[in-house]
Symmetry: C2
Subunit: 481 residues, 2 copies
C-alpha cells in the first residue's frame, strides 16, 4: 500500500517536471518563431530565397554536437530539427508568399472537359495520354480473361507468370538478370512512384527532384510528409542537371533522388555517362535513385536504364501506358532491390490488395508484342518533328526533344505568364496547353503534348502561333513614339 | 552597399539567436526524454498502460494557456505537443515493449499459399474473400467493354453514369438523396479507407477505431502519421462500444471515428439507436465518422447506414467485392460531403488517375442486379449457422453473428495463444484460420471465415474441434494428482 502510494507520488512529481519542461520548450518555440519571422522579412527585403539549405546544414551539424553532449540519440535529434525547420519555414512564409493554387495541366484538362460537355470542340495539347489505344490482341486477352472469371485476390507483387515474363523482358532489353522477387506489378506509374516513395521516405526526409518535373514526384513526397528539394535545370543547359548541382543539394536528410528520362516535360535524355556520374554521387552517400523510364520507347536516341548501372539502391519504374497505349488499364511495374520491393509491396497490399488479374493477363500479352512500342515510338517522333517545325516559325526558344512526347518551349515575350496564355488559349481558341508553372518555376514555358493526331497538332499550333504573334504586336491605336 | 551589409549582419545575428534557441530546445528535449524514460519504468513497475490519454489531455490544456500567453499560434502549439507526445511514447517504450511482428490473417494466407504451391491441399477459413465470384452478366459486360476499348483516362471521381446510378441505389436502399459530386468511385474498399483518411488526417491527429477491427483502419492512419486510438469492446458487451467509452476516448486531437457494421471480425451490427447515439457524440465535437458498410448485404438483421442519420460529417464506404462477389475487380465507392469527397478524389487522381473504365462499366451492370446480393447474403447466413453449430460442441464462447462473414470465438483454454494455434493448425492439419491478435489485443480468439463452401467449412471445423479437444486433455503419461 505504502509502495503504491510512493510510486504514485513519484509519477506525479515526474509528470509535473515534464509539464514544466514542456512549458519552457513552448516558450522557446514562441521566441524561435518570432525570430524566424524576422528572418523571413529580412530575406524578402534582401530578395533571397526563404529556404536556405546551407544554413540548415550548418545548424544540423552544430546541433548534432550539442545533442551528443546531452545524450540525445541522433534519431530524436534529426526528427526534432526537421520539425523545427518546417516550423521556421512556416513562420518565414507570409500569406502572400505561400504558393497560391498553381494552374496545372490537370486544371486545364478539367476545364477543357467542361467546355466539351457544353458542346464545344477542344484541341488537346495538354494531356499526357497518347491517342494510340492498346493493341487488339491486348483488348482480346482482357476480354477472354474477364469471361473466364480471372478475378480473385492474388499475390500483392503480381502474378508469378507476369513477373517471370518481366524478368525476361529486362534481360532482352538491358541485359540485366533480376529475380521475380525484385519486381512489383503496380496499378499504373503514379502508384509506382508513390509505393517507391512510401517504401523509402519518413517524415522530414528529403527527396531530390530535377525541375522541370512531373508534379507527382513532389506531391508523393509531400503526401508522406517528406520534403521535396528541386534541382533546377535550364534550357541553356539542355535541361540536364550538373553533377555538382546534385552534389550540392544533398544533406544528411537526403534519402532519394528521382530521375525521369526521357523527360516529361523537356524531352531531355540522360545518357550513359551522365547517368553513371549521378549514380556515383548517390552511391557515395547511400542515396536511393528512382528512375522513371515510362517514356523509354519514345526515345529518339539510345535509352539508358538505371538498371544498367548495377547500382543496388536503384529502382526503375515502367508502365504499359505509353509503350502499348494501355493508359486506362492502369498497370506498370517497379524493379529494385528485394528489401525495397518487399516494402513497396506491403504498401500496395495494404491499399490495393493487388492489380486485377484480368489486367495482369492483358499486360502479359502486351509483353509478347515487341512491334507496337516501336511503331508508337516512330509516330511520336514524327509528331514531335511537326511540333518543332511550327515552333521554328514562332518567337520561342526550345530544345529539340531527344525523347518523350512533349516539347517545352519558352515564349520569348517579356513578362509573359503562360498560365494566363493557357487559360486564354483555351477560352478563346479552344486549344488546351499546359502552362510551365505546373512543372516548377517556369512561368515563361509551355508544355505541348504530341498525344493527339498530326492534324489536331497542326491546327492547335496554328492557333497558338496566331495568338503568340498577336501578343507581340502593340495593341491597335497605340503608336511607338 | 552599406544597407546590404547591414542586412547581412542582421541576418547573421538573427541566425545565431535561432541557433542558440535551438540548442536550448535540444537540451530541454534531452532532459524531457530522460524524465519520460523514468515515467516509463515507473509505469511498468506499477503495471499501468504507457499511453495515458487523460494525462495528455491535461497537459494539452495547460500548455495551450502558456502558448497563448507567449503568442504562439494554436496550430503550432498543437503540432509541437503532438510531436513531443510521440517522442515521450518512444522513450517510454523499451525495446521489449514495442509490439513485435504480430501474426495476421495475411501471414497465415501467405503461408497457406506456400504450402499449396508445394502440392498440399489447405482448407481456407482465414480469407476475407467469398468464393462466389461475379455474376455472369458482370463478367460479360467487362469483356464487351474491353473489346470496345473503353480504356482511356477519365474523371478521378468516376464515370458520371456510374455515379448517377449509385445515387439512385442509395435512394432506393436508404431513402437518402445525394449528389453525384458526393460520390467517389474507388479501386476497392482498402483504397477507399485510405482516401478518406488521407482527406482528413494530418500528422498527430487521432483516429478512433473500435477493436477488434480490420487491421487496415489503424494501418491507414499510421501511413499518414496520424495516431490510431483503439476503443476496446468485449464478447461480454456483445462486441458493441459503449457511448461513454467513445466519449472518454476523445481528445482535442480526435478527427475521425471509424465504424464497421456488420463487423469484421465479430459479426456485431450497430443498430439505429446506437448509431444515432454515437453520431450525436461526434456531432457535438465536429468529428468525422467513416462507416465501412461493405458487409451490408451479409446482414441477418436490419442494416442501418450512417447516411440515414443525416450527419453531414459522415462518410460511407461500400464495395462490390462482397455483395456481387467482385473481389478481384477492385471497385467500390465512398459517399460523403462534397468537400471531403473532393479531397479524397484529389488523392485518388494523384495516385491512380481513375478506376479503369471497363471495370466501372462492369460495376454499373452489377448495380442493376438486386438479386445476387440477396442470394449471397442467404448463403452466408447458412454457412455462419453451420460454423456456429460446430462451435457449440467445442470449449469456446462466442457471440452469434448478426451479419458479416466471420465468427470470432474465444477458446476457453487457459493461457492459450491463438497465433500458435493458427500456425500449428495450418502446419499439421492444413486448416488456415486467422488468429485474434490480427484484430487487436485478442490472443484467445480466432476468426473463422465463411468464405468457402459448406463442405470445406465442415471439414475445417472438424479438424479444429479435434485440435482444441486434444489441447484440453492432459498430455499422455501425465496424471492429474
Amino acid at each position: 500500500m505504502i509502495n503504491v502510494r510512493a510510486d504514485e507520488q513519484e509519477l506525479r512529481i515526474l509528470r509535473e517536471e515534464v509539464a514544466q519542461i514542456t512549458e519552457k520548450i513552448i516558450e522557446l518555440l514562441a521566441l524561435r518563431n518570432e525570430r524566424s519571422r524576422a528572418i523571413g522579412q529580412l530575406k524578402r527585403r534582401m530578395n533571397v530565397a526563404l529556404l536556405d539549405l546551407n544554413a540548415e546544414k550548418d545548424l544540423r551539424e552544430r546541433i548534432a554536437r550539442v545533442a551528443q553532449r546531452h545524450g540525445l540519440d541522433p534519431e530524436s535529434t534529426q526528427r526534432t530539427l526537421t520539425f523545427l525547420f518546417q516550423e521556421s519555414l512556416r513562420q518565414q512564409s507570409s500569406i502572400e508568399d505561400r504558393e497560391g493554387p498553381r494552374i496545372t495541366h490537370m486544371d486545364i484538362f478539367r476545364k477543357a472537359k467542361q467546355l466539351e460537355s457544353s458542346g464545344q470542340k477542344v484541341i488537346h495539347l495538354e494531356v499526357g495520354e497518347p491517342d494510340f489505344g492498346a493493341p487488339l490482341e491486348v483488348h482480346r486477352t482482357l476480354s477472354e480473361a474477364a469471361i473466364s472469371g480471372y478475378a480473385k485476390y492474388g499475390e500483392a507483387k503480381g502474378l508469378p507468370e507476369l513477373r517471370e515474363r518481366i524478368i525476361e523482358y529486362l534481360d532482352e532489353r538491358f541485359g540485366v538478370r533480376r529475380s521475380p522477387q525484385e519486381v512489383l506489378v503496380v496499378p499504373g506509374g503514379r502508384f509506382g512512384v508513390y509505393a517507391a516513395a512510401a517504401a523509402l521516405l519518413s517524415p522530414g526526409d528529403e527527396q531530390l527532384v530535377i525541375d522541370p518535373s512531373w508534379p507527382l514526384y513532389k506531391q508523393a513526397a509531400q503526401l508522406l510528409h517528406a520534403r521535396p528539394i528541386a534541382i533546377k535545370t535550364t534550357l541553356e543547359d539542355s535541361w540536364l542537371p550538373r553533377v555538382e548541382d546534385v552534389e550540392n543539394s544533398l544533406s544528411s536528410a537526403t534519402r532519394l533522388l528521382v530521375l525521369n528520362s526521357p523527360n516529361n516535360p523537356t524531352g531531355a535524355v540522360i545518357d550513359r555517362r551522365l547517368m553513371e556520374e549521378i549514380v556515383e554521387v548517390c552511391r557515395k552517400r547511400s542515396i536511393y535513385v528512382l528512375s522513371d523510364e515510362v517514356y523509354m520507347d519514345y526515345c529518339f536516341t539510345e535509352h539508358y536504364s538505371v538498371l544498367e548501372t548495377g547500382y543496388e539502391k536503384s529502382l526503375m519504374l515502367m508502365s504499359f501506358s505509353k509503350s502499348w497505349g494501355m493508359t486506362g488499364y492502369r498497370v506498370g511495374f517497379l524493379v529494385g532491390e528485394r528489401a525495397m520491393i518487399d516494402r513497396a509491396a506491403s504498401v500496395q497490399a495494404m491499399l490495393m490488395t493487388c492489380v486485377p488479374e484480368f489486367i495482369q493477363r492483358a499486360a502479359f500479352k502486351a509483353l509478347e508484342d515487341n512491334e507496337t512500342p516501336k511503331v508508337y515510338g516512330r509516330v511520336m517522333k514524327e509528331r514531335i518533328s511537326e511540333i518543332c517545325k511550327w515552333l521554328d516559325s514562332m518567337p520561342v526558344s526550345y530544345m529539340r526533344p531527344r525523347g518523350g512526347m512533349y516539347v517545352f518551349p519558352k515564349i520569348d515575350v517579356k513578362g509573359i505568364d503562360t498560365a494566363e496564355i493557357a487559360l486564354k488559349l483555351l477560352e478563346k481558341d479552344r486549344v488546351a496547353i499546359a502552362p510551365g508553372t505546373a512543372f516548377g518555376d517556369y512561368k515563361d514555358h509551355l508544355r505541348i503534348s504530341a498525344g493527339t493526331s498530326s492534324e489536331e497538332i497542326a491546327e492547335g499550333l496554328r492557333r497558338l502561333k496566331t495568338y503568340v504573334d498577336s501578343y507581340r504586336r502593340p495593341p491597335l491605336g497605340v503608336k511607338d513614339f
